[in-house]
């Protein structure tokens, strides 16, 4: 096509065609002769073969260093070292060919240590889009894209937290007022889980302000003002009928109002970004009046930003390193060149064909085929080796997963003809030193740190699991920073299940009080009533949660599948004489022990028991039950270490020491069991739902002794042991600060 065009043009002016000639530099046949019309590489004739042979023989391969490195990091260090040695040799203009982009980035980071004496120009495509300045603009675009009702809290905070925003200019207050303003907003929104919508945000702030008034602290009016400022501008976008001209004007106005434009002007990436935005002025062309939807216009801006490349600001430096792709070395000269990624997988590198453009289709369309790319890269590589006196070729001799990687076929082919051209394995610099393992850390408790006077079953479990976790959570009272829950909070499901079961059993009791109730004598009526009630009560309990987050519906449906077998279990218990007695009673007992000085101490141990049942066939028998929203397998694991998780024993002892607190006067809790609310309906054919604790009375003495021992150790500030398996660390809040793994 170009040929035809040039032919036509030759009628008007003389045409001189200037092309590159690889005759004297080609090191491989494909670089010398290229491909023919049908896309095949041409076979060499005798003359060409001789030319190629001469080229290779004349090659100054002594200046080409082959360096293989075993690991990624070693490769990066080896490349950085090559560059460093070129710098020391006085080379001013060095190229780093980024055949392996990742390694090149790492090299770049390593070279940053050399400071401003080395100017690094990245030509591999640093896009404007990845700069901090663009992120600031993006955060605003995301915000105006939000629906009329308002953005999500994440989007709002993202915008407010961007460093280019001048909050004090926005709300016309002194900078002092604005300190911590956004952090405060974040706290308020998270505390009230205000996830999206202007109204929700206002309500959250007003509630927080009202609370502040009631608790003698100052309400924060600046927050409302800030919100109002953003909201007005967000509204403006949804009010207008957008065309390219007014959208451009509004965006520029926004950037001015928010102070972002001013801040961008002080930043090198920011300046380039402003220039790109200015092109949307469309220089009073007809396109200005093109009407668009807001999302279309925003994606137009974003596409342009993605395409725009960012050029680092030039500085005066003693030497320049250009990071560039192989193709960019064409017709340029460098004092030294370092190529990273000369392995068989990355050299040659073929671009992924877009969509359905297969190689055959590309050939038909006369677009870039694999063979064409192959030939071009062979030529570029030949020229690079021919035109530069110092070329270091580096590659990783082991791939990411440890499999052997060979050097590029081009290197291997040259090596067959240049047997003296050998690769060197890079030897990483080793630093000798003796390991000094950290001794196991033992927390020294502050003598003023108040020790606990009460303990819940879960706190006791934490103490047994990992004393450090207990120390952080219960003694220091540290908690993780709360964030907006991404998924549905599983503990909420557990709470709802407990609540709905309580409501169900209360309803059952009420129904049984009725004189004419049919569920008293007829089991099948009773079963039907129970299933239906549980179903309805479950719906009711979960309704609000589902409105908040549709995904919770899945949890509800899972539970509803459990209902028939849960009712079976309940009826089975009733057949054995057991009846539901009460739920969620606060029970506890006082534990006496002596502290380190021999002083008598008292500790309250207790919590809320899920459920007590009584047996109608006996005057004394009672049982404590704990619901677990976990599978039977997990419950069985729990039971194996009963004394590390003695929740049921605590409730049993509490109820026995003070029967009135659990309304169990005259009865004794000698039985205890866990009940699973998450039985594997598909696999567990027997549908076993409960696991009994064997011999509660027999376990009591050992349990009590252990409890006293633990409390004495704790109060004596002695070293205590962690009993839990490693798994407990997985979701531990204290993970990291405990420095586990260092000892």
């Amino acid at each position: 096509m170009i040929g035809k065009y040039l032919n036509d043009y030759a009628q008007y002016a003389p045409v001189v065609e200037v092309t590159l000639d690889w005759q004297s530099v080609a090191l491989w046949s494909e670089a010398l002769v290229g491909e023919n019309a049908s896309g095949k590489i041409i076979e060499l004739n005798a003359e060409q073969a001789q030319q190629l042979k001469n080229n290779i023989e004349a090659a100054h391969y002594q200046g080409w260093n082959l360096i293989s490195a075993r690991r990624f990091e070693e490769l990066a260090w080896a490349a950085a070292k090559s560059i460093e040695s070129h710098l020391i040799a006085g080379n001013k203009n060095i190229a780093l060919v980024a055949q392996d982009r990742l390694a090149a980035r790492r090299v770049r980071a390593l070279l940053a240590r050399l400071g401003p004496v080395l100017k690094i120009r990245d030509e591999t495509g640093w896009k404007l889009d990845t700069t901090r300045a663009a992120a600031a603009l993006n955060s605003w675009l995301e915000l105006i894209r939000a629906p009329k009702e308002g953005p999500t809290a994440g989007v709002l905070l993202e915008f407010l937290q961007n460093p280019y925003l001048d909050i004090s200019a926005c709300i016309q207050k002194t900078p002092e007022v604005c300190i911590g303003l956004v952090a405060q907003l974040e706290d308020i929104l998270i505390a009230s889980q205000a996830k999206s919508g202007w109204e929700t945000f206002y309500m959250a702030i007003e509630r927080a302000n009202a609370y502040a008034v009631n608790h003698d602290t100052a309400p924060n009016q600046a927050l409302l003002k800030l919100l109002q400022f953003v909201r007005e501008r967000h509204y403006a976008w949804h009010e207008m009928s957008l065309n390219c001209s007014n959208a451009y004007a509004l965006l520029q106005q926004n950037l001015l109002d928010t102070g972002i434009a001013k801040a961008l002007g002080k930043d090198s990436a920011g300046k380039q970004l402003l220039e790109v935005i200015n092109t949307f002025d469309l220089s009073s062309s007809d396109y200005q009046r093109v009407a668009m939807h807001l999302p279309e216009w925003i994606s137009l801006i974003k596409t342009v930003m993605e395409e725009a490349s960012y050029e680092e600001a030039g500085k005066d430096a003693q030497a320049t390193l250009s990071i560039l792709p192989l193709s960019s070395t064409r017709l340029r000269t460098f004092d030294a060149v370092v190529v990273v990624g000369c392995d068989e997988q990355q050299l040659p590198a073929f671009s992924e064909p877009p969509l359905f453009f297969s190689d055959t289709l590309n050939r038909l369309l006369k677009a870039s085929t694999i063979t064409a790319q192959y030939v071009q890269q062979a030529r570029d590589f030949s020229q690079l080796l021919g035109s530069c006196a110092n070329v270091d070729l580096l590659w990783q001799s082991k791939s990411k997963s440890g499999e052997p990687l060979r050097p590029s076929a081009w290197i291997q082919r040259l090596q067959t003809q240049l047997p003296k051209w050998m690769a060197v394995v890079s030897q990483p610099e080793l630093h000798g030193g003796k390991a000094r393992p950290v001794e196991r850390a033992v927390t020294t408790l502050d003598p003023d740190l108040p020790l606990p006077l009460s303990m819940s079953p879960s706190a006791y479990k934490t103490l047994r699991d990992c004393p450090y976790k207990y120390y952080v959570r219960s003694l220091l009272g540290l908690r993780e920073v709360k964030e907006f829950e991404d998924g549905f909070d599983a503990s909420l499901a557990g709470q709802s299940l407990h609540a709905l079961l309580r409501n169900f059993y209360q309803a059952l009791k009420t129904e049984e009080q009725k004189a004419d109730s049919k569920i008293k004598d007829n089991t099948s009526v009773r079963r039907q009533w129970m299933e239906q009630q549980l179903f309805v009560i479950s719906e009711k309990e979960f309704k609000r949660l589902i409105e908040g987050d549709g995904r919770v519906l899945g949890t509800l449906r899972d539970w509803q599948k459990q209902i028939p077998s849960f009712v079976d279990w309940q009826l089975q218990r009733e057949a054995e004489g057991w009846r539901y007695h009460n739920a969620e009673h606060q029970v506890g007992f006082d534990l006496h022990f002596a502290d380190a000085d021999g002083v008598d101490r008292l500790m309250r141990i207790g919590g809320r028991a899920d459920r007590f049942d009584i047996n109608l066939e006996s005057k004394q028998a009672a049982e404590v039950i704990d619901y677990k929203n976990q599978s039977m397998t997990k419950i069985k694991k729990r039971a194996e270490h009963l004394l590390d998780d003695p929740q049921l024993l605590i409730y049993a002892r509490a109820a026995n020491e003070d029967p009135a607190s659990a309304h169990l006067q005259g009865r004794e809790v000698n039985q205890a069991q866990w009940v699973s609310l998450k039985v594997d309906i598909k696999r567990d054919k027997k549908l076993t739902r409960s696991l009994k604790v064997e011999d509660v009375p027999d376990l009591m003495p050992a349990f009590s002794e252990q409890l006293i021992q633990d409390m004495q150790n704790l109060w004596a500030r002695k070293e205590v042991t962690a009993f839990a398996p490693d798994g407990v660390c997985k979701y531990c809040e204290a993970r990291g600060i405990c420095r586990k793994g260092m000892w």
Binding site: E30, E352, L355, G402, E403, D549, G550, V552
Partner: protein, 179 residues
């Protein structure tokens, strides 16, 4: 030999390496299956097959890369060996003396031939290869272009279910509640 015959006696390399036959080889670990596969690839190349016409599939990436490494090192050795040594190597891979002598120049040049091909021999894993096939024709295969293979199927399932519950249309939600 008939189709489907099971070779019982001494293992015959000449049959197993013959590029004109299809063979199934079942043998225990360490008995030289990879050796045989590499030998078959060499015989195919000697027989005139182009590098890109050969497809070798394995179950693991490690095995694939190892096979590749073995093939290339062997071809490299071939290109440097003395004639006697090379004759012996070819002999081991099922060529009789005359055939081996005739293929000597070709065998020496195989390394260059394989290296000089823009598209190399495909030695890949099953999932890697089929992934490439799908990627080559994303529209007719109805996959997203440039997709990547996810192996954490359990997490994927959970994510899908979460979205499924969350995205139920309001009327469907109501029906599901009442049933």
């Amino acid at each position: 030999m008939q189709k489907g015959d099971v070779v019982k006696k001494k293992f015959d390399n000449a049959i197993a390496c013959d590029p004109r036959r299809s063979v199934i080889v079942s043998a225990c670990a360490g008995s030289g299956k990879t050796w045989l596969l590499v030998a078959r690839m060499i015989r195919l190349l000697l027989d005139g097959a182009k590098p890109q016409e050969i497809l070798a599939l394995t179950f693991t990436r490690k095995a694939a890369q190892e096979m590749r490494d073995r093939l290339y090192s062997l071809l490299e050795q071939f290109s440097k060996m003395s004639d006697t040594e090379l004759l012996h190597e070819l002999n081991e891979r099922g060529l009789d003396k005359n055939e081996a002598t005739a293929s000597l120049p070709q065998a020496k040049d195989l390394y260059n031939k394989v290296l000089a091909s823009p598209q190399s021999i495909v030695i890949d894993t099953f999932h890697g290869w089929f992934g490439r096939l799908l990627n080559a024709a994303p529209i007719s295969a109805e996959v997203q272009p440039g997709f990547s293979l996810r192996e954490d199927s359990k997490r994927l399932l959970e994510e899908c279910l979460d979205n499924w519950w969350g995205d139920l249309p309001a009327d469907l939600k109501a029906t599901m509640t009442s049933c």
